[in-house]
Structure formats: C-alpha cells, structure tokens
C-alpha cells in the first residue's frame, strides 16, 4: 500500500512531537529511538524510514526551530547596522532553541566542519543558515568574495551555540556578550576585506 504524502508528513510530525517531549522530559541521552517510536505510536522500524539516527531527529527539531526563528527575525526586523542584524538573527534562533539547549550539543557534533560530511538533516540546517546569512549580507551590500566568508561565519555561529549549551551564567548572559563581541569582530573583518587591497589596514 502506498503511503500518501499527507500520511508521511503526519507521521514525521508525530515523531518530532514525541521526540520534543521525550528529549525535554527524559533528556537526550536517555530518550531512545524505541521510546520515541512508542510515544509516536509507530513501529521502531518505521521510525528509521524517516530518520536514520536519534541525532537526525534532534537536527530536524533544530531545523524547525530555526525556520520559526527566521520568521520571528523577519517580523521584528528594522533598519539597523550589519552587526545588529546579524545579532538579531542569531538571537532569534537562541530563543526558539531554548527548550532544546541541553541536546543541541550532539547536533552540533554532527556538523563538525563546514566542508565535512554530515547527515542530511544537519547538512540541511547548515546550508539553510549559510544561505540566510548570505542574503542578509547581500542586503547590506556585502557579496562575499569567497566561500571562506560564510564558512568563517558558520564556525563562529557553531562556536557561539556550543558556548551557549554550556553557559552557566545567569540567564546565559555571557552568551549575549560573546555573541555581541564576536559579531562586531566578524562585521569589522567583513568591512576590512570588502575594501580595496590598497586601503586595507596591515596592523
């Protein structure tokens, strides 16, 4: 029997909803794919038709959160500097990711390097985020000369997320400071590289 696209989407949604509940309630380490399948009322084998690993489920949840965050960001957006725009985009993501903060680290570990091989879900997240940043930079008149720019951003972004997952400061305020200062540095670097070679600082 052929499973309709609608049924597939429904099952996928049930898996993700169940995983979201279990990851938060049991913790990422203790929530197994078997638990998730049972909670979603599907056979364990069926789950693997949708997600090859538990990390892939987590990555899909992160991807959904970042999609919602992008909508939040676009809705609240105002005319501002590049630094502020970049900050607002990442900060919107942190807000949406907050329920998943504890299990974000395994997802990050599955995307160790911008050019590395990762599972489909994680690769899709990276691709989508880098595309969003490319569009944002373009809106500020910056067309990255080389892929290095976006890869540098991705490294910085993953670094901030990693810091955030382990941030024990009250309300993770250190992450805000780190993000602010890192993006200021990134924006300054972008502007520097956007200038003609003859006008660049060589300190």
């Amino acid at each position: 029997m052929r499973v309709s696209q609608q049924a597939k989407a429904s099952t996928r949604k049930r898996i993700l909803d169940s995983a979201r509940v279990l990851f938060v309630r049991e913790g990422f380490e203790h929530a197994t794919t078997r638990h998730i399948a049972r909670e979603a009322r599907i056979a364990a084998g069926t789950l693997f038709n949708y997600f090859p690993t538990k990390e892939a489920i987590a990555a899909a949840l992160v991807g959904e959160a970042l999609d919602a965050a992008q909508e939040d960001f676009e809705r609240r957006r105002r005319r501002c500097s590049l630094e502020e725009d970049l900050f607002a985009q990442v900060a919107a993501g942190l807000r949406r990711l907050k329920p998943f903060r504890r299990f974000l680290r395994p997802v990050l570990q599955s995307t160790p390097h911008p050019a590395g091989v990762a599972d489909n879900e994680a690769a899709a997240i990276r691709g989508e985020q880098m595309e969003r940043v490319r569009r944002l930079l373009a809106e500020h008149g910056i067309e990255p000369e080389s892929p290095l720019t976006l890869q540098l951003y991705w490294t910085l972004y993953v670094g901030v997320l990693g810091f955030w997952t382990a941030d024990r400061s009250p309300k993770q305020e250190d992450t805000l400071a780190l993000l602010d200062q890192s993006l200021a540095m990134f924006a300054a670097w972008l502007r520097e590289t956007a200038r003609p070679e003859s006008q660049r600082s060589h300190n």
Binding site: C80, E84, F87, P170, E173, A177, L178, A188
Partner: protein
Amino acid sequence: MANVADLLHAVPTDADEPGLAGETRLRELFARLSLRPVPTGTWRRFWRLGGLHAQIGLAYTMHWLRGWFQGAERKQRDLAATRLNAAFRLLETMGYLRGAIMKVGQTLANFPDFLPEEFVATLERLHFLAPPMHFALVREFLHNELGGDPEDVFASFETEAFAAASLGQVHRARLKTGELVAVKVQYPGIARTIRADVRGLVTLLWPLRLSRDWDSVKARIEYIHRTLELETDYRNEARLQERVRSLFREDDGIVVPRVFQEYSTHRVLTMEYLAGRHVHDYLAAGPTQDKRNRFAAKLVRSWYRLFYAARLHHPDFHPGNFIFMDDGRLGLIDFGCVLELEDEDWELMGKSDRPLTTGRRDERLAFLKEWLDLPSDAPEDDRLSLCDRYAEACWKPRTAAGEFDFGDEQEFRRAFDLFIEMLRKRYTRGRPLDAFISRWDFGSRSMLYRLQARVDVRAIAEQEIAATGWDRSDYATLSN
C-alpha cells in the same frame, strides 16, 4: 596635572613606530581593537593581565637601567615616557577586555592618588569609550530580565539610548500605565566578571609595590572591590535610591526619581524620567547668578542631607548625575556609588565637625592625627603640615562665614595643587574612605566652580545638622 591633550602631544614614540604622534597611535590602537577576538573566560582574562604586568614591569626595568647613565632632567623625562608607554599598554588591555575591566579603569581614573598622573590622564579616556549596546542586544537582555520584549513590556520604548551609564546605557520608555520612565540596562555579564578582574588588579599595580604606602593602596583596592560589587547590583541601587528619595520634601526643591520595582532587576533599573538638562547645557543657556546660586545651594544641601540624615556619602558628583530642571528643581540620579558609612567611618567623620565648626587649626591638627592614625603627641612634620594645608583648603567653603565664592579660581587651584604636592611626595597613606572623599572634594568643587556659584555652605550645614538634633553645644559657639 597635564590634561590628556597635552600628554598626547608629548607622547614618545616606540622605535618600531617611528614618527607616530600619540593621538594617531591611540586612534590606531582602538581601530585594531575592533578586529580582535574577545577573551571570555576568567583564565584568559587573567592571562592577559599577567602579560600586561610583565610588559609594564619590563618598561620600568628598562627605565631603571637607563637611569644609571642619564642626567636628572633627562631621567624625569624618561620616567614620564616609561609611565606613558605603560599607560598605553594598560589602556590597550582594558579596551581589549572591555566590559568589566573598563569599569575598573574608570574607577581608577577617579582615584588619582593610586597612580602616576600619566596613568590617570590616559585612563580618563575610558570614560568616553563604554561599549554601546545596539537595540537587538538590549531587546534580548530585557527579554531575559523582564520576561518579555521591551515593545511588549512597555507601551513604548526608544531604541536609541539617550544616556550612557558606566556599566550600560539608559533608554527612555513609557509604561502602559502612562508614566515616562528611564530604563537603565547593564551590559550583560559585566557584574560577575568585575570580581575576577579586580582580583588581578593588585598584580596590575605591581610596579607600585615598593612604595611605603603599598599596604594602604591594597586596603583601598579591597574597599573599592566591595563598593564596585554593590554598584553593579541595581537592586541595591534601587534600595538606596528609594532611601534617598524619602529624605527630601517638596519644599527642598530636590527630587529623586521613583523606582518602578516591577520593571527592575539586579541588572535593569526602571525609574521615573526627569526632564531637564545637565550642567553643560544648563550653563549654555546663560542663567543668572541668582539662579546658579540656587542650584548650587541645592547641590550642597543634597550632600549634607544624605550625610547627616542618613549616614550616606555620595562621592560621585559627576555632571551626568544631576538634572537641572526647568522649574528650578534639582534632580538627583544614579546612586550606584552611594556609600553607607560603617560605624567607625561615621564616628570619625563626625569628629571632623568640631574643627569644621570652630575653624581652629589646633583642632584640625588633632583630628588629622586621628585620621592618619598618628599618636596625639606626634610632632608636626612635613606630611602633617601638608595634610593640614590641604584640609584647610578643602574645608574653607564650610568654615568661611557667609557666602563662599566657588568661582574663585585661586581657591579652586589651591586645593588641587596641594593635592598634587601630596601625590608628588607620596603622602598617599590613609583610610580606604580617603579615595571617595577626594573624589567628592574634586567632583563637587569642579561642579560648583563651573557654576561660578556663591553659596553659604556653613548655613546649609548648620541647618542640616540642627535637623538631626545632634548636641554640639560644647563647641558650636566657638566658631570664628
């Protein structure tokens, strides 16, 4: 004391940077800072301070070695150059670390008796370099602190800050109940890191360790550490602000903004917005002598009210902390630095009232001996004599009968010059509270000098003391 511009013109250049004037060097230094990574952990910050300590130590050692074969005049020039280079390195590190260490830098700039004057003049630059927060950062911080976006929590919220605060910035907003408010927002993470950074401060001041006053300097750093910790807690500031607010009545013409506790946390302080001008803009409008005198009298009264009615010392007579309102009222804002005097300090400061009231030199000397922890029969040496002349100059507005002319430049300079002489002779040993008293002395005298005001300080002091019911009958009639 030379001003920053003088120093920048005189700044020596490094051998590897031939021909660079000081101003250019400073500007380039800050341009470079924006491209640097920011250390976030305590260990990395400390490592950075450690490296700095080594650099300053090296600079001093080089000076010492060169001093063997240089004449006295040249040596003095070289010392200034060495110190200034060290100050640049200090500034670079502080700018690099930003945040917490910047607060330390600003605080040190207010305590000129700690450091060679070149350090102080250079550190003064930090007053203008507090890192601004863009609105996206402010929004996230307020969301975390108040549980909602500023656009949702407030009826309206101005995205641009209208004033800088030493640890953050201030935004205008309107509550949903209609009140116009000022929302002070602290830079995230700055409060906790101060503790770690002040720990490194003793190391930072290592070049001064051979001074005979080193123990006193260390004690003062510890005192500053305690007060800085309180200053970073806006809940504490809100409590002090409410306490001070209760000290003034409507007919005083002195107003302290109400705190909105439900919109305040340890890191956010929301208070009634006071419309008015700071001293610079107020004076630009050319107010009459009478109006300036009245504002000046309120400035003076505010300090005495806090002191005598509540045992509080407000050392921070910074122009940004006073609002000259169009209706003639004086607004007091920013109570982060207000000190609640401990019993020992309160009792000792209370003893100064007698020489202040009588104006007699023998009583002033007796008080100074106690303040300086000298035996009562100690002979009057150069140090005591100089301290006495300094105290006499500082206290003159209070001891003078009738109006004191704060616009008298000679009087203004006299206290300042005596203070510099004390620094030069390294008579810096004293009580931890000294630094806060000096800060008030110079802050208040500078404000009143700018106002070119004439105030009967003595009459105000007498009124404020009388209101406390303090029995001074044994000496109050001895006044000159």
